[in-house]
């Protein structure tokens, strides 16, 4: 049993964060691998099949060499679950930042975090308000890392629909992908938030990306089929699969609102969860 003071907590969380980042940037979760294999198997376009062939070779190379599968190792989005025994304090945020700095030099990650106006790069993937950390209660002490690349993130959007426009949710989702085209590295996963508030709906959309992509509800399937009629295909070169999956998360909202957010995620739907040894 380790000591359970703040220093030990910070070190344990740094270690878990490092491990989660390493796992996330080098290899994809099994459900994402299955979704990619299914998409490749049913693809008929020769150019698209070539893209899947590169993706397959790339995943094998990353795993073999233990290197990031994509050079855009993203910005770290972190989800922390805390059991009642873990005190909520600045120590948690410090530990996560330590893990990110270590990952940046050791794995390595590309230093992506800059000041939004001066564009000065911090060099260590941390900065004001970065990493984004979301904390929630849970039974186990875990850290989940979702490294978010910019190509797909840049094509995401929030739309404040009116309560009478429920029928436009599919339109918003499909239009988001129409505008995005090949830029977000399709075949994508679309995280869709519905309800909540202006800020909350974007968080819902991102959390939706953590859900398994090899199962969908009837509603999610309907949205996914609508996106796939666009025929954008892998990398925008045309093909039968534009979205591997659409995942929806819902929250209650104001009677006068219908917020909808679409968080676009490239085919490399990277995330990993590690239990904190504390």
């Amino acid at each position: 049993m380790q000591s359970r003071g703040p220093d030990a907590l910070r070190a344990a969380l740094a270690d878990a964060t490092f491990k989660a980042i390493q796992e996330a940037v080098v290899s994809l979760p099994p459900d994402v691998m299955r979704a990619l294999e299914n998409a490749a198997a049913k693809e008929t376009s020769a150019i698209a099949r070539g893209e899947y062939e590169n993706i397959k070779k790339n995943l094998a190379a990353a795993k073999r060499l233990g290197v990031p599968l994509c050079q855009d190792t993203g910005v770290p989005v972190v989800y922390l679950t805390l059991p009642p025994s873990v005190p909520y304090s600045q120590t948690l945020f410090d530990g996560i930042a330590d893990g990110i700095r270590r990952a940046t030099t050791e794995i390595p990650l590309r230093p992506n975090v800059v000041d939004p106006l001066t564009r000065h790069n911090s060099g260590d993937n941390t900065g004001a308000g970065m990493p984004a950390v979301h904390v929630r209660p849970g039974d186990r002490f875990t850290v989940t890392v979702l490294p978010k690349g910019a190509g797909a993130e840049n094509m995401s959007r929030v739309v404040m629909l009116l309560p009478s426009q429920k029928g436009m949710i599919q339109h918003v989702v499909t239009e988001t992908m129409l505008i995005a085209g090949g830029r977000p590295c399709p075949p994508v996963v679309l995280g869709v938030g519905i309800g909540g508030t202006f800020d909350g709906v974007a968080a819902l959309a991102k959390e939706a990306l953590l859900q398994p992509v090899d199962t969908m509800t009837a509603f999610e399937r309907q949205l996914c089929d609508a996106v796939n009629t666009l025929g954008i295909g892998p990398m925008g070169l045309g093909g039968s699969t534009t979205a591997l999956a659409v995942k929806v998360k819902i929250a209650a909202c104001h009677t006068a609102s219908l917020p909808v957010a679409v968080n676009v995620q490239c085919w490399a739907n990277r995330h990993a969860t590690v239990e904190v040894d504390w």
């Binding site: 290197v67 990031p68 599968l69 855009d72 190509g151 436009m168 009629t229 666009l230 990398m235 490399a268």
Partner: protein, 189 residues
């Protein structure tokens, strides 16, 4: 598209004019990475390499101990308005992902090609590369101009020198499919 793979080597010449959208190629020789910041710097301070026959790779790699760890393409469309001066001075190929719109597409006409590499495939790309140098290192890892020696990087001709563009064909189809979808009545929003 045919099954044959065309071998290309930098510096490139008029052979790029015979390529057609959809052709598969393998590119060898030196290429130069450049993203948003590098283009802006080169516009201001000049090009730190011979642009004649050169290939520009839209890429911000991960480099460690002077070794390329991961080096897939970035979204080329961000550079749509930034390529004119490079093509004017003889650059023959732009490499990236997602395709390019105006004015880059028009500026490639009768001069060069856009070559697409699979986005996200950074470990695969790195296995075809050796690092040969760097310009503007003060721009940081992602934005510097890295000099990279390629060994048969597999690419698809996305836009050819006659203006044929795989991406715009797909885009037009997507627009039509969107207009014809079950939510057509909502498109006036």
């Amino acid at each position: 598209m045919t099954g044959t793979v065309v071998q290309l080597h930098t510096p490139l010449g008029d052979e790029v004019l015979t390529l057609r959208a959809g052709d598969r190629v393998e590119l060898s020789g030196v290429v130069y990475t450049a993203r948003d910041e590098a283009h802006l710097r080169m516009q201001k301070e000049g090009i730190p390499f011979d642009p004649r026959g050169a290939a520009i790779y839209h890429c911000g790699p991960v480099i460690k101990d002077e070794r390329i760890v991961a080096a897939g393409p970035t979204t080329s469309a961000r550079m749509n308005a930034l390529e004119g001066f490079l093509l004017d001075l003889g650059v023959r190929a732009l490499i990236g992902k997602g395709g390019m719109g105006s004015p880059a597409r028009e500026q490639l006409k009768n001069r060069g090609v856009y070559l697409a590499f699979t986005g996200g495939c950074a470990a695969l790309a790195a296995s075809h590369m050796k690092l040969a140098g760097v310009h503007f290192p003060d721009l940081g890892m992602a934005e510097s101009v890295w000099v990279i020696e390629l060994d048969r990087l597999p690419l698809v001709v996305g836009i050819d020198s006659q203006g044929n563009d795989l991406f715009s064909v797909v885009e037009e189809h997507a627009k039509k499919a969107f207009g014809a979808g079950p939510v057509k009545e909502c498109t006036d929003k």
